[in-house]
Symmetry: C2
């Protein structure tokens, strides 16, 4: 089972590494990090570099594709190498997935037309501009397309996907190995529970977060 994780300049690290760290533990999983060019790819903060093993042209098929989000996603919303790669590899996948604003890339590539999908809460409505049907859930399955809400939602998506791929027991074992029993110290994880002033402040600097 080949899992291809897309990287691009100014991606959000946790969008990619959260699902990676779960799915890479599935039996038989092999992972390739793929980008326009092989080599280090820098995240949106500028201080983390993850190495891409392969160029887009080197990965023509994959069983699972994971598309992260981040401010750098915006540069690939027009037709170009990333969108062409997504369209070329998608017919071969068993699961095509995204985290955060990565779903906008899938939608812009035409892969979510008429499908339910989610994204980071700051940009979820933009899915409709690209033919998808925005849903407010944290993880959305529509056929083989699986989309997660912002950043950390990639973990919940990955455990749900692990269960679909390898069964509940395998997913539960990975969860226990990762001690994924989250206890956020604040209740500020979504705009409905966050203090109003916090939500307004995050909204005001949206462009630094997702696009």
């Amino acid at each position: 089972m080949l899992i291809a994780v897309l990287l691009f300049d100014r991606f959000t690290a946790l969008d990619a590494v959260g699902p990676y760290d779960v799915l890479s533990h599935l039996p038989g999983a092999e992972v390739v990090f793929v980008a326009e060019r092989p080599g280090p790819v820098t995240n949106e903060v500028g201080s983390l570099r993850l190495v891409a093993d392969a160029a887009l042209a080197d990965v023509s098929t994959a069983d699972v594709v994971v598309v992260p989000g981040g401010p750098g996603q915006n540069a690939h919303m027009v037709d170009g190498p990333v969108q062409r790669w997504l369209r070329a590899v998608d017919p071969h996948t068993t699961w095509t997935t995204s985290v955060c604003s990565g779903s906008l890339l899938l939608a812009a590539a035409g892969l979510l037309t008429g499908r339910s999908a989610t994204s980071h809460w700051l940009v979820r409505d933009q899915l409709a501009d690209h033919g998808a049907l925005p849903v407010g859930d944290r993880v959305v399955f529509d056929g083989k397309y699986v989309t997660a809400a912002g950043v950390s939602a990639g973990l919940d998506m990955a455990f749900a996907l692990a269960g679909r791929i390898a069964g509940d027991a395998v997913a539960q074992a990975i969860q226990l190995a990762h001690e994924y029993d989250p206890r956020p110290p604040y209740r500020s994880g979504n705009p409905d529970t966050a203090p109003r002033a916090i939500a307004d402040a995050v909204l005001a600097r949206r462009s630094a977060i997702v696009s």
Copy 2:
């Protein structure tokens, strides 16, 4: 504020990237990934490489140190460059932190003697072998030493630490930007809630997970 994230061969990626992705968004934060040698460092699965910016010798001071865990931690439990670096940098830190079995490294370096600390549930008891006092909490603060339980607990630690460093409002804003409103699809995140057979299976392959 300089945040130094330690990397070593066969670290667990999420142990490092979870806290990184939270703490790197603190106002004024600069992050350096540090390892015995600069360059790509491979995780315990073997398919992810994160780039270390600096050698241990290049980072003599930091405001925050983050020590991940993973099977590779075991190679540094004896006196050597990593332990010497931890002892040298610690007097300069405001916060010295760890995720997962990274607390065993701090303890082996003599930094947790007589202090309460946690670790991955599979190895938490081993803290006592190195003079620390094992506590079953997900995140443990003892003075400037902050330790987290297994892998994903680094996220909870990082948000709690972000609050201590920059105040509740900043931590809450980062939480909302990361949409950290976790909804695990299974209740298998700790050995008390996981099915017994799952816990036994994870216990049986402990050495592949943490040491």
